[in-house]
């Protein structure tokens, strides 16, 4: 999928990386989000050469520099597939909540008997479903694009910055700051529960801005103060269960079983501790 020739910036030709999009266990919504935003779609596609994108085209290829992977790992064949993608790609990007930390499917890990859900849902039909894991619990991940789905602008920026050779910054603070910047009134003041105070910003407070309390789809902000939020939720009359349900929904706040930090996280820790 190529649109036009190589682009240039101030006279210098730009890198035009070969990129591929893959999905593991997921709803496909993040890939759909890649294709959304028709106004900028052609500009977006002109910055990269898409070599594999099942949701958008028929051609398949193992030749790519950057792999964008949507979804979590919930089957053994997905483990093998992810390892293969990691071997093929110079850069592996986790796309969306499922890839970053397991997403909604991670909720099933709460059941101690892994066969229970398979029997309940699939009955007699065989289904090889395993414990849900995020990409970085299996292979090193170079970059995470958070959200369910992520804002398209965030991915556009990633691709653009790769093409321009600029650093890619992941927002690190909670959503509250941008929520206030947008002129919103705090949902706690309006009597609603919201995970904005602990969830990674960068979404421009999409949900709280529409009077829908945050469910934490972007996972925890760096330095998220969960203990403080628990006290605040209690003080505002929300039960521990209300809060636990939200924190569990997208998997970002669920403790890791076999953490395998990505190189990016490691380097951040070196910088801050």
């Amino acid at each position: 999928m190529a649109a036009g020739g190589t682009k240039s910036w101030l006279g210098a030709p730009l890198l035009r990386p070969r990129v591929a999009f893959f999905e593991l266990t997921s709803c496909g919504g993040c890939q759909l989000q890649v294709l959304n935003h028709e106004g900028t779609l052609l500009d977006f596609l002109s910055l990269v050469e898409v070599t594999d994108f099942r949701e958008a085209m028929t051609e398949r290829s193992h030749e790519y520099d950057i792999a964008f992977v949507e979804g979590c790992v919930s089957r053994s064949d997905e483990v093998a597939r992810l390892r293969q993608i990691r071997r093929n790609a110079r850069t592996l990007v986790a796309l969306g909540s499922c890839a970053c930390f397991g997403g909604v499917p991670r909720m099933k890990n709460r059941f101690p008997d892994p066969g229970l859900l398979a029997r309940e849902i699939y009955g007699e039909y065989p289904m090889a479903t395993e414990t849900v894991r995020a990409l970085d619990e299996i292979v090193p991940v170079d970059l995470k694009v958070h959200g369910c789905p992520f804002p398209k602008e965030e991915l556009e920026k990633v691709v653009l910055h790769i093409a321009l050779g600029k650093a890619i910054e992941t927002p690190r603070h909670p959503i509250c700051f941008e929520c206030k910047a947008n002129g919103n009134v705090c949902l706690f003041d309006l009597g609603e529960l919201c995970l904005g105070p602990v969830t990674r910003g960068g979404c421009s407070a999409w949900c709280p801005g529409n009077r829908f309390g945050c469910w934490g789809c972007r996972g925890p902000a760096d330095d998220a103060n969960l203990d403080s939020l628990r006290a605040i939720a209690k003080e505002h009359g929300f039960s521990g269960e209300d809060l636990a349900d939200r924190l569990e929904c997208f998997g970002g706040f669920t403790p890791r079983e076999a953490p395998e930090p990505s190189p990016r996280r490691k380097s951040r820790k070196r910088g801050t501790r």
Partner: protein
């Protein structure tokens, strides 16, 4: 200073005279909170009946009109290997602020010192600030208001017209030609001794209503002495590092600048974004070192800037005592309690 007195019924005429030619921003009701209490916001208003001049306070200050959270400082249009730069101050008309409280007028005066008073004035702020007409109104001290402790309960400058209710009349203070000329459009008279007494009585009555206070005696010195105080850690344990305090603060002006390129590669931008010293990467520098990785140290420096550093530089606090940060903080961190705990009066 010139004074005038006029009937409250004249105010809509004055308002109409302003709205006829200008955009007018004023306090309007923006909703009802979980306790059933109305809350207010500074919004453009064209109908006098929409104004709520007896408003308590607003959740957010009027800051976004002169220090927007996001603002392009310059744009660069590219064409081949060539480019051209455009600088816009992002203001195309004068604005009227109708109904600012003294604390918010004082906030502007404090911002002026930093953003227009130094060797390097900020033109994006100055252009908006110079194009303002401000009508101040008196207020009813709320439980969270400690402006009197910060010397910001009364405004001596920084407005065009300031109105204080005396019975069914307004006592108007005039600070500009524009305000003087505006008042010529309504029936206003010079106050006599009786009105002076009524004005002083109204102010005294307001002053009696303050419940929150901050003891600022020797505060810069005490903050220096208590730099290692354990109270900072206990406030830090509560702090969400969310930056809401700075976002609602009428005087927080810290910002970051980001350079971006539009996805169609036609335009690049230098964009200023307000930031908060409580955010985790505020003090992170090139190379990755973070000077304030812990939330308590960031919270502490926010207080040191407001109540120590700024006082040493400008002989006044950067805090107006409007109380918005304490009201917005979900963790209940507020200036009177924090300062009291640092002074050893009451725990964190």
């Amino acid at each position: 200073m010139l004074f005038r007195v006029f009937d409250q019924g004249e105010l809509p005429i004055l308002f109409s005279a302003l709205t006829a030619r200008h955009e007018v921003i004023g306090p309007v009701e923006a909703g009802v909170d979980r306790h059933g209490k109305p809350f207010y916001a500074f919004e453009p208003a064209t109908d006098f009946r929409a104004l709520r001049l007896a408003y308590t306070t607003t959740k957010l200050p009027a800051k976004r009109y002169f220090l927007p959270c996001r603002e392009d400082l310059a744009t660069f249009r590219t064409s081949g290997s060539d480019w051209s730069k455009t600088v816009e101050y992002n203001v195309d008309r004068p604005r009227v602020f109708f109904g600012l409280h003294a604390c918010d007028i004082n906030a502007l005066n404090k911002l002026d010192k930093v953003l227009t008073g130094g060797d390097y004035p900020m033109p994006w702020y100055a252009a908006k600030r110079r194009n303002m007409f401000i009508v101040g109104v008196d207020c009813e001290p709320q439980p969270s208001c400690f402006c009197r402790s910060m010397g910001a309960d009364t405004a001596l400058s920084g407005f065009d017209l300031f109105l204080t209710g005396i019975g069914d009349r307004y006592f108007a203070e005039i600070l500009s030609n524009n305000a003087y000329n505006l008042l010529r459009g309504i029936r206003a008279v010079e106050p006599g001794e009786e009105e002076h007494v009524l004005y002083r009585r109204a102010v005294a009555e307001k002053t009696r209503k303050y419940t929150a206070r901050v003891d600022t005696t020797d505060l810069t010195k005490i903050l220096d002495m208590e730099f290692e105080s354990p109270v900072w850690k206990s406030w830090g344990e509560k702090c969400l590092s969310c930056g809401s305090c700075a976002a609602v603060c009428p005087t927080c002006y810290c910002y970051g600048v980001e350079e971006t390129v539009d996805i169609d590669l036609s335009v690049a931008r230098k964009t200023k974004t307000l930031y908060s010293c409580n955010l985790v990467d505020f003090a992170q520098v090139a190379g990755g070192h973070n000077f304030r990785p812990e939330s308590h140290s960031r919270l502490k420096y926010r207080y040191y800037h407001k109540h120590r550093g700024f006082v040493e530089a400008y002989e006044e606090s950067l805090c107006t005592g409007c109380g918005r940060c304490g009201e917005t903080c979900l963790a209940g961190i507020n200036v009177p309690d924090v300062i009291a705990s640092v002074r050893g009066e009451g725990g964190a």
